[in-house]
């Protein structure tokens, strides 16, 4: 198996470079993350994030042959060689495949991603019908991997202003939660020209989401609610 991997060590390199690697094993059932770990055994300095190795923690988002995805659920057998690996685009690189996600997390926090309900809590659970609960499906499962936002041209150009698909998906997750009482404020928060309206429905985000979520649809729903409100 042949690889070409983006390398950058801030202490040693003036500029990033691509490095070729070679692994002498059968792809079999191997995932890209398994291959990366074998490469790291040879070259300890090769740097990437990983944790769950099953596609649920969102650590190992990277650009794989030009497309953002998670290394741990990408089968080697599905990849054209040499496998070209780069860090997620548009964010500052810390080292090799590790990017600085602060901007991405800031946008997430801007969405006020927590349930707001000021009425005193009952002694037991707040009730929610299965139909209302179903509205959260396709939203709450986000693993904050960043694959979507870092494939979104609008996020690249305005990462400080345009919230990006992941944060907007979360904004919508709380807007539609029947238990949340801050819908008005949430929509008002998003009113400025950038937060939502920089999305041009290019759908890159949908194409790459490893969890099969649909941020574009959520953004469209937010826009509809905003228009309805201002009408």
């Amino acid at each position: 198996m042949r690889f070409s991997i983006y390398r950058y060590d801030p202490e040693q390199d003036q500029a990033p470079r691509m490095q070729d690697y070679h692994l002498d094993v059968e792809a079999g059932d191997m995932m890209l993350l398994d291959a990366l770990m074998l490469l790291k055994a040879e070259d300890e300095s090769l740097t990437f994030r990983r944790s769950c190795r099953e596609g649920v923690c969102g650590s190992d988002g990277m650009n794989i042959n030009g497309v953002n995805g998670l290394a741990c659920v990408t089968p080697m057998s599905s990849l054209r060689e040499p496998v070209v690996l780069r860090p997620l685009p548009g964010l500052p690189v810390i080292r090799d495949l590790v990017v600085d996600m602060s901007q991405f997390y800031k946008q997430y926090e801007k969405a006020r991603p927590y349930l707001i309900n000021e009425t005193p809590a009952p002694r037991t659970e707040r009730l929610q019908s299965p139909e209302d609960r179903e509205k959260l499906d396709g939203l709450y499962e986000c693993i904050l991997c960043g694959c979507c936002s870092t494939s979104c041209p609008s996020f690249w150009w305005n990462p400080d202003k345009f919230m990006g698909p992941a944060a907007l998906l979360q904004a919508y997750r709380f807007i539609v939660d029947s238990r949340d009482q801050a819908t008005e404020e949430r929509l008002a928060d998003l009113q400025d020209a950038y937060s939502v309206f920089r999305c041009h429905g290019i759908m890159n985000c949908v194409a790459v989401c490893p969890k099969g979520l649909n941020p574009t649809q959520a953004i469209a729903q937010i826009k509809t609610l905003m228009l309805r409100k201002s009408a």
């Binding site: 740097t47 944790s51 099953e54 923690c57 810390i94 991603p113 037991t124 659970e125 009730l127 904050l144």
Partner: protein, 587 residues
């Protein structure tokens, strides 16, 4: 002298999984200034992988009460769990689950709008009667939902996070109390001393001591390593749960909830073999029972596949709708890792190392316990432990499904409450000596000065293989004695291993080297404790001592690094109800 940045907080919590986040939230809500340190971004903690649910006797589906839950947990623990702690956990279960719901956790719902519950193994009504339906679930992504909700809530409460900081070692004050932690900021390599009046270990499990495990790569037992290096004990380390249904080859978990929803196991003859081993509970017998039955089937030649090395988990009869709505995550994992869509095909599964019942011993407030010269409990000032790294002990020799997430939030909250109370009522000072940081700095320096020797990777692989071969589902004296020698030889080799990459910025090689020291400490504690326990109880199954021996072995194993094993009595006195005396365990 290395430059160290200092910080001062009311409390520092090491770990941002469910346990650490629940503790942090409690303190932040009470107006304290807690800091949460995590080597990964909080939502990347292992709690995110938990699937099936969190157990609490809400009675939403069928009549239930906490006392029945308590009975099941005591029995499930094979009578090694402390009954005071188990009562505490089961009594508070409903409250903490309702709290989570109020925080916004997106639980699945029943038609009447209440929290959805599913049956799990080892759950009964009326003290051993019919199957109970007690595990509260958000589809099969309960851990994800729980972890994200708690993180979100901490954002709301203003908890301070030190994200991607690796805790290296606990720091002691002049009186031997714990005064905080030394950590590496991974991004820069800079060192930080986070000083605090209360320090909480919430570092999770250590399943990575085994070659085949359901655990995340970051589950390296760092909290246990830190405790042992600080001269503190770990308890019941022989008790490792092997989950019946890890996907063969990959190790990825398939939740017990699949069997709760009606899935079952088949051997190569298409026989539903659990009917022979547990005529009543069948596939929902306790995990140790099912895992052993599977291992026996495979050993006796009734395993499936060309190598006869696994059995099959059938669930296609549940229908596409149930699978898609209740088990969507499992379907995704099975397709990705077993190339089997469970709507059509069964999933190949094997017992896989899953959960550490042992850990740092604590009382019900999460306060860490050591022993005095007479073997009595001694509270360690300034130190708490919660979650999988702790042993309070509610799981004893075998944890019931859904009880770990519960343990995290019940005792995370309890520790938070205790710290709040302590800081409000006592004048706490932690005077530091000049050399307080030296042990931690020396440890780092050893790696920085290494100039030759073996690769961390090779030693780690050998350790994991040794534990897998010599200390897993079935155990014998001879094999374990050899295993101990091998692990001790590996410990020695690790002392001379080589860190080739000495850079500062985002050096994950250094992180892995430090993690391996923790794993090795856990492996040694586990195999030494296992060799010494000459009986079979819960997950600890000795071929040479197949019976449970209540006369001699209702006691906790206590391991200090470099010392002979000690023991501690099991608490058989619940807080308010009558004790449950040991009985033969059948399902």
């Amino acid at each position: 002298m290395t430059a160290v940045v200092e910080h001062d907080f009311d409390a520092v919590i090491i770990g941002a999984g469910g346990a650490g986040l629940r503790a942090g939230l409690q303190m932040a809500q009470a107006g304290l200034r807690p800091a949460v340190v995590s080597k990964v971004f909080p939502t990347r903690s292992h709690t995110v992988s938990a699937q099936g649910g969190i157990t609490a006797a809400l009675g939403n589906v069928s009549e239930d009460n906490w006392h029945w839950h308590m009975f099941d947990t005591v029995k499930g623990s094979d009578y090694l769990g402390d009954q005071d702690a188990i009562e505490y956990m089961c009594r508070h279960a409903a409250d903490v689950v309702y709290e989570l719901e109020h925080y916004g956790l997106p639980f699945s719902r029943l038609d009447n709008g209440k929290i959805y519950q599913r049956p799990f193994g080892g759950q009964s009504r009326d003290f051993g009667g019919e199957q109970a339906t007690r595990t509260c679930a958000a589809a099969d992504r309960t851990g994800h939902a729980l972890l994200h909700t708690l993180y979100q809530r901490n954002l709301m409460a203003g908890t301070t996070f030190f994200t991607e900081f690796l805790a290296v070692d606990l720091v002691k004050d002049r009186n031997g109390a714990i005064a905080g932690v030394l950590a590496i900021e991974i991004e820069t390599g800079d060192l930080h001393f986070i000083k605090s009046r209360a320090t909480v270990l919430a570092t999770g499990g250590a399943g990575r001591i085994f070659a085949s495990t359901t655990n995340a790569l970051i589950n390296t037992g760092d909290g246990l390593g830190m405790a042992l290096r600080a001269g503190l004990p770990v308890q019941d380390m022989e008790m490792w749960q092997f989950h019946p249904t890890g996907i063969a080859g990959a190790g990825v978990l398939v939740t017990e909830g699949v069997r709760g929803e009606g899935g079952y196991l088949l051997n190569k003859d298409g026989e539903r073999f659990m009917e022979r081993y547990a005529p009543n509970a069948k596939d929902l017998a306790s995990r140790d029972v099912v895992a052993r039955a599977m291992a026996v089937e495979i050993r006796e030649g009734r395993g499936c596949g060309p190598a006869g090395d696994h059995v099959l988990l059938k669930l296609d009869h549940l229908g596409a709708d149930v699978i898609k709505s209740r088990l969507p995550g499992i379907r995704e994992l099975a397709i990705t890792f077993a190339h089997a869509d469970p709507i059509e095909k069964p999933i190949p599964v094997v017992p896989t190392a899953h959960y550490m019942m042992g850990g740092v011993p604590t009382n019900v407030h999460g306060q860490v316990l050591s022993q005095d010269a007479e073997g009595g409990d001694r509270v360690v000032d300034g130190l708490y432990a919660v979650g999988e790294c702790a042993c309070v002990s509610v799981h004893g020799a075998n944890r019931l499904g859904g009880n770990s997430l519960l343990d995290l939030v019940v005792f995370g909250r309890a520790a938070g409450q205790h710290v709040t109370h302590m800081l409000a009522t006592e004048h706490v000072e932690r005077p530091l000596g000049e050399d307080a940081l030296d042990p931690a700095l020396d440890r780092l320096e050893r790696w920085n000065l290494s100039s030759g020797g073996e690769r961390v990777e090779d030693i780690r692989n050998e350790m994991r293989r040794t534990m897998q071969n010599d200390c897993s589902v079935f155990r014998t004296e001879e094999v374990m004695q050899e295993g101990i020698q091998k692990i001790e030889a590996l410990q020695e080799r690790l002392r001379h291993a080589h860190l080739r990459d000495k850079s500062k910025a985002y050096n994950t090689a250094r992180v892995e080297a430090l993690e391996l020291e923790n794993l090795m400490a856990v492996a040694h504690a586990s195999i030494v404790s296992a060799e010494a326990r000459k009986e079979s109880r819960g997950a600890h199954s000795r071929v040479d001592y197949p019976e449970r021996d209540d006369e001699n072995w209702i006691r906790h194993t206590v391991y200090f690094a470099g010392q002979p094993l000690r023991y501690r009595s099991v608490n058989m006195k619940p807080l308010t109800v009558e004790p449950f005396p040991p009985k033969k365990r059948t399902y």
